[in-house]
Symmetry: C2
Subunit: 311 residues, 2 copies
């Protein structure tokens, strides 16, 4: 199975799968495993812990000689020096998200980086293309984490954006295996991003309780949390998040307060465990290399099966 398209070329990877930049989770142990498997690991900045993240980026150089990327989560990065640091570290690929695509694109492009902007709507996609990005991460509302308050599913959003822009697209939201990757390619993507599948991977640093909760979740096992201001969130369904879904309490505040217990101790009831609907499709904790290899194998099978319908 050999991929050769604009995403593999721009990202300089064999396999056009990108690991999503989950706050606190997308650090060197996970990201290096993804890059070493031939896909692209990404280091997060949405935790806002920039000193720790500088160390993580440095560590990546020790853990892999393959390319990796950094996500600049604009709403959470108050230090504009992050761009210089990323450039100095020799990072070649950046995703920007949670903010205005005009803010960093020129500076990053001038430094020679490849920039993909994360978008949840067609309007955001067009704005990013106008800002000069190289490509888009098109993110459907079934995905986990921070979301547009008016979620649009990947099956609708991706082909819509594809029909209106010419830059390459990485699909996010609802992707966890080869069948969903093949569907994304049928809709016009040239790469996919996986979040929840990576949160639940063996190399993910989250507590075992969180991985177990993903494995046990049904497909209806997430909630979509709106806030009066700011983004919505998709998270695992618990008593706490069902209360937040009813509008009682502040999702962002309870997410922040529970980070330590949820993320590192794996006690998903103690806060807000961000997760996509694919939690309902994940049945075991697997090493990243196995996830990637199986996805590629299944993708090939799905491509062959659909190819038999070719006229």
């Amino acid at each position: 199975m050999r991929f050769d398209n604009r995403v593999t070329q721009m990202l300089d990877v064999e396999i056009p799968i990108v690991q999503a930049p989950m706050g606190w989770i997308a650090r060197s142990p996970l990201a290096a495993a993804v890059s070493n498997a031939g896909a692209l690991g990404i280091i997060e900045t949405s935790s806002g812990e920039l000193d720790a993240i500088r160390v993580e980026i440095t560590r990546m150089r020790e853990l892999t000689d393959k390319p990796f990327g950094v996500n600049i989560a604009q709403a959470f990065v108050r230090d504009p020096g992050i761009v210089d640091f990323v450039v100095e570290q020799g990072v070649r690929f950046v995703t920007t998200s949670a903010g205005d695509p005009t803010r960093y694109t020129r500076q990053l492009k001038d430094a020679g980086l490849v920039v993909f902007h994360v978008v949840p709507t067609l309007r955001a996609a067009q704005k990013a293309v106008d800002a000069g990005v190289d490509g888009l991460v098109v993110e459907g509302g079934e995905g986990g984490g921070f979301k547009n308050p008016r979620p649009v599913s990947t099956l609708v959003l991706l082909p819509l954006v594809r029909s209106k822009v010419s830059v390459p697209i990485i699909a996010a939201g609802g992707i966890c295996d080869g069948a969903s990757m093949a569907a994304a390619f049928a809709l016009g993507a040239e790469g996919v991003q996986m979040g929840t599948r990576m949160v639940s991977a063996a190399e993910s640093p989250v507590g075992e309780g969180w991985k177990k909760a993903i494995v046990e979740a049904p497909e209806t096992g997430t909630v979509f949390l709106r806030q009066e201001k700011g983004p919505a969130l998709r998270a695992l369904r618990t008593e706490r998040t069902e209360r937040l879904e009813r509008g009682e309490g502040q999702p962002m505040a309870e997410l922040a307060a529970g980070v330590s217990e949820v993320y590192f101790e794996g006690n998903v009831g103690a806060g807000v465990a961000l997760s996509g609907q694919v939690a309902g499709r994940i049945e075991s904790v697997e090493p990243v290399a196995d996830v990637i290899a199986q996805t590629v194998r299944e993708f090939g099978e799905a491509a062959s099966a659909l190819g038999r319908y070719a006229p």
Copy 2:
């Protein structure tokens, strides 16, 4: 482009596209156009107007010599004689929805009909298979109309159900063209159902204002309306439905009260105009035959493109 799979065989059609059974809309002018185009038209019963529907089923015999189907919306059909009537009219294909799959499946199967049950979750799918249905309509939460209060996107739900049952699947929710049809096939479907695309077709009986509202809607142009009891609804975003989305008012009551103005006069602000997210992808009113022909052509192109990735 030639399809030949379990859905084309069971439905006795050339093209495995099914028109969704929208209340008041899925009547003989629209359904006959779909059947005459080589796909499968369906007559609705969710309007509850069974006398009118008996006339519609009789009319289908005059308008087409191709197969067509009937949907039995169990929550809205109080007269169990509907099954005998459907059988007497020589209908060979039925979808059942909005209720317990054990209720009519045996009776319909004994009469020699092919029965597909509409399901929004894996649990519902397994229950329907246990009841002996021939196949499933697997309906993602991005679709319009009556919905499970815990919506799951087609990209997640369809491959999950595919991995757990062996009966053929018709995908619904998010399907409006060849790219989305190809994605559904990559996820394991052998047929697709289109609702909003057919509501906005030239032969659809709805008022022009409703078709125009679909054509002009962005992809974020629907709302998901929860109710204290009963199903949720997905409908076009209007001032009224945004109010209902905030929990003010009764969606079902406002839907019922506005049927005449919304459905026949096309005044979408006067009630609840059910619609899927694909409203954001529909850019013109087209005759059904053109929609079907273009979908088949695009499907073939997408299948060829994905087939080039086959190992």
